[in-house]
């Protein structure tokens, strides 16, 4: 009997945690997208004001606590220091980051394609590239924020309901 009760409790707990996990992933995704947007804004400002080269920009980004979540940045910085091409390094490291983060594939594609022109054009081209991606991420964030309020509640509720349902069935 005790074993059965323990099993029910564990299953219910798993259901609640799963609901909570999915809810948290939505929040995390929004936070990450906001950080990425902030990063692009930072890059744009630095390029516009001081024309800071990419290697120095990456160094500044890595040292900035606001961007600690973007764990692919230090790897790209190291790659560039070792003479590896920015574009291929960005694709590789951002790709790996996306796989183990809460970002969706379409978010990832946007992040990866940002590097296609990064550093490869004149000042105006760089500013326009940054502006375009800031707008794209902002659009994504707007729709996501609208959806998130409902989906966070739904995931939590679903988890709780599954837990209750499992408990009733199994008890």
């Amino acid at each position: 009997m005790t074993l059965k009760n323990t099993g029910i409790m564990i299953i219910s707990l798993i259901c609640i945690l799963a609901g909570n996990y999915f809810a948290r992933r939505v929040t995390e995704r929004i936070n990450l997208l906001e950080t990425i947007k902030l990063m692009i804004k930072y890059i744009e400002t630095q390029i516009e004001y001081t024309r800071t080269p990419i290697s120095s920009l990456l160094k500044c980004l890595c040292e900035n606590n606001d961007f600690k979540k973007l764990t692919f940045l230090p790897k790209i910085k190291d790659d560039i220091e070792n003479g590896i091409d920015l574009n291929s390094s960005w694709r590789k490291n951002a790709g790996l980051f996306i796989k183990c983060s809460s970002l969706h594939n379409d978010d990832g594609q946007l992040l990866i394609s940002f590097s296609d022109i990064l550093g490869a054009s004149d000042l105006n081209g760089q500013i326009q590239n940054c502006e375009t991606y800031i707008n794209l991420f902002e659009t994504k964030l707007c729709s996501l924020r609208q959806k998130s309020e409902g989906s966070v509640k739904i995931y939590n509720m679903l988890g709780l309901m599954c837990a209750t349902f499992a408990a009733i069935i199994l008890f």
Binding site: I47, R51, T52, P53, I54, S55, S56, I80, G83, D85, L86, L118, G119, A120, S121, D122, L123, G125, Q126
Partner: protein, 334 residues
């Protein structure tokens, strides 16, 4: 000296395509030190310019002065990659330099770029289809200006013109002169200002100078010389200003104006010999001003930093140089 050259050679290696890095890194130490320039051209073998002339890079890590078909050629994609690397993947940082056909690397190495100019009505606004890259390895030759210190500057600051052909070591001598005057070798710790328009003299990397330009030197990096000179005079109160490769009338105007303000100048100009200086408008204007005390002529190409002759302007027998008269109508402005 050899250590310095090999350091420069090692510094530029990382910008080259990997397969050429692997070949070049195995060159004998003496050969590495003798290389002054590395030239990359699309679909052509790599050329290394040494003191003996142009040599081609063979796949067995040897330089050959005779071209043959087995030599590895550099591809267009490798040229593109090299351009990206020398720009630090940041074309926007170097867009003005690219228009002028060069990028300066950390360490002061100058990379010349050659391709198709993109022009608007009057000037080039960019270069596309870059097909040739010339990497010139910077040299720090400590002591190359010692003769100038003992013969010219020991009795006090002077205005001097240093002239030489390309690759004769004008920048090398100027850099050592800055260092020695700044460090007090001329008898006093004079305040020095360097117009480092191409970031070759001090090779500033971030906020640090990679080349030794002395302890009492202010470096204005990337400033157009004419702007930098007036700014230095107004804000830095230098005793002497150093300008590399004086090439435009406006720069001459600013230099002459600076001398009138009581600042001394050491400038370099292109010219194989004194006759060449008299033929070129820029150097002729400087000499004609009567404000420069000495002309220093450097030796032949590839003989870096060798001082051939020091001439005191007042003692030059101008008759010897033919039709030299005071051509004041060449003065454009100022």
């Amino acid at each position: 000296m050899n250590d310095v050259n090999e350091k420069g050679f090692t510094e530029i290696l990382r910008y080259l395509p990997m397969r050429f890095q692997n070949i070049l890194v195995k060159l004998p130490s003496g050969t590495k030190c003798s290389i002054k320039e590395i030239r990359l051209r699309a679909n052509k073998p790599v050329v290394a310019v040494t003191e003996k002339g142009c040599a081609f890079l063979a796949s067995n890590s040897k330089l050959s002065y005779i071209l043959n078909d087995t030599m590895p050629v550099i591809t267009v994609a490798e040229i593109d990659d090299t351009v990206k690397k020398v720009c630090g993947f940041s074309v926007y940082t170097h867009q003005n330099e690219i228009v002028n056909g060069f990028v300066t690397l950390a360490g002061g190495h100058r990379v010349g770029l050659c391709g198709t100019a993109v022009c608007d009505d009057k000037t080039a606004i960019s270069i596309r289809d870059i097909n040739c890259i010339n990497i010139r390895i910077a040299n720090e030759k400590a002591g190359s200006a010692a003769e100038l210190i003992s013969k010219i500057f020991y009795s006090g600051l002077q205005n001097i013109i240093i002239a030489g052909a390309p690759m004769s070591g004008k920048t090398t001598v100027l850099r050592d002169l800055v260092r020695q005057i700044s460090d007090g070798n001329a008898g006093e710790y004079y305040k020095c200002a360097v117009m480092d328009e191409r970031c070759e003299i001090a090779a500033v990397n971030g906020q640090v100078f990679e080349n030794n330009v002395g302890c009492n030197t202010d470096v204005l990096s990337n400033y157009p010389k004419s702007l930098g000179i007036s700014q230095a005079i107004r804000t830095l109160s230098p005793d002497i200003i150093f300008c590399d490769e004086t090439a435009t009338e406006c720069e001459v105007d600013e230099i002459l104006n600076g001398i009138m303000c009581g600042v001394h100048f050491a400038v370099t100009v292109h010219g194989n010999n004194f006759e060449d200086l008299l033929k070129r408008n820029i150097s002729k204007r400087l000499l004609n001003s009567g404000l420069f005390g000495y002309v220093v002529l450097l030796g032949e190409r590839y003989n870096l930093g060798k001082i051939e002759k020091i001439m005191k302007v007042g003692e030059i027998d101008l008759e010897k140089y033919g039709n030299y008269d005071n051509i004041s109508d060449l003065y454009s402005c100022g």
